[in-house]
């Protein structure tokens, strides 16, 4: 997060926020213990994950197709994996500790080749 931390005499009265919608600057992804990994090869684009995601962290393109996951905001709740109806599932949870240092492509290969 690159927000400027204001001093007590600089904050806005009553904790009001003048630039609403700034919650996207708050990176809830830092809380995550597990992360969902997506496999586009088996994904049937049913968009159940998008419907159920409580943090709007399923990324879509202009045609409304699922294109990935917003890891800045995904808290790793696992609802997307729970809802994924494809067989095998096109989303799987992986421990953050295991994902560390790996690219998305490497991780995807590792998780879905098992």
């Amino acid at each position: 997060m690159s927000e400027k931390l204001l001093n007590w005499d600089e904050v806005l009265i009553g904790g009001a926020i003048k630039d609403p919608g700034n919650s996207k600057n708050y990176e809830t992804g830092s809380w995550r213990v597990e992360r969902p990994v997506w496999n586009p090869d088996t994904c049937i684009q049913c968009m159940f994950c998008w419907v159920y995601c409580p943090d709007s962290s399923i990324l879509t393109n202009e045609e409304g197709k699922m294109i990935g996951i917003d890891y800045d905001h995904c808290k790793g709740c696992g609802i997307c994996v729970e809802q994924c109806p494809s067989k095998p599932k096109s989303l799987k949870m992986v421990l953050e500790a295991e994902a560390k240092g790996k690219t998305e492509e490497e991780l995807r290969k590792e998780v879905f080749s098992k």
């Binding site: 931390l5 204001l6 001093n7 007590w8 005499d9 904050v11 009265i13 009553g14 904790g15 009001a16 926020i17 003048k18 609403p20 700034n22």
Partner: protein, 396 residues
Amino acid sequence: MGKKVALTGNEAAAHAIRQIEPDVIAAFPITPSTPIPQAVAQFIADGEMDTELVTVESEHSAMSACIGAAAAGGRVMTATSANGYALMWEMLYIASGMRLPIVMAVVARALSAPLNIHGDHSDIMGGRDTGWIQIIAENSQEAYDGLIQAVKIAENKDVMTPALVAMDGFNISHAIEIWEMEDDKAVKDFIGEYKPLFPLLNTDDPVTHGAWAPPNWYFEHKMSQLKGLLAAKDVVAKVGKEFGEVFGREYGLYEAYKLDDAELVIVAAGSVCGTTKDVVDKLREEGQKVGLLKIRLFRPFPYKELADALQSAKAIAILDRVSPAGAQGGPLFNEIRSALYDTPTRAPIINYTYGLGGRDTQPIHINSVFDRLKKIVETGKIEKQFDCLNLRGEWR
């Protein structure tokens, strides 16, 4: 000049609300404050005021509705008592934290158990740390005048903090007194128009209210809030003076009654001050140097001013209308004694609890306090630091 009327304290509060004519009132009935919203509902039904009355299912909801309406940009008021005030507790912090200048009439009453609906200060003292401005009235006139001033104090741009005006249950709320009601227009002119800072209903300039603050923000916001509360001290004095200029009844942070050269001093708040003034008058006629320091502004606590006002005292008794609940004396006692620690006076200070659950406090009891103070000055000894007035059996 207003016109003299003979009405109860509750009616005084209701008329103040009618003349202030807030945008919204949300209230739930609870004895002894029920007649306030009841009278307001009648005023609205009779077309005497244009206010949205929100009837709710609890005091928690009443304060919640007030917060919502105030955040929307409205001028908002309510009234409550005792357990209803206690049920608002959580929301009182939210109102003050969001810096919403809600004004509330609190008819002070005992808290259960045992169940008791009569006057004491358990409710207001229980909420003294909620960040609200607290003004305590001695009689109906002060309750009426206080509510009008509270609007102007709470809405001051440096303050922007909710305020309550407390009056003793039954002793004031249900007793008919003669007091002066000012002209409707004069009251409206005095309080002026309210311009909210960030009204939610202003869709041209959208804002977020009630957001969360993680550990790296919360502390700063709470200290910013404290500045607003502390700023109320000067504003209370300023508005009290302005009120005097317009209506002829001037108010300060406290009232010094025959205090200038007083050696035996009682410190108290609320309706007992009327009784104490009578006793002070009688003893003064006998040549005794007695006086009363009446607390008006309890939050923010004007500790320096109060300590300065007590410098002539040789012995001080502080009356608390609340059980000390395990502390070293009642809340007023602790505040005053702490305030005096930084000053030259080392006058002995004692504490009385009185009037719990509507127990009478009569001149004879106030006389006994002055007798005790006299004895302390004569002997230089405090036999009892804490005692009770009009309790059956000796407190030990």
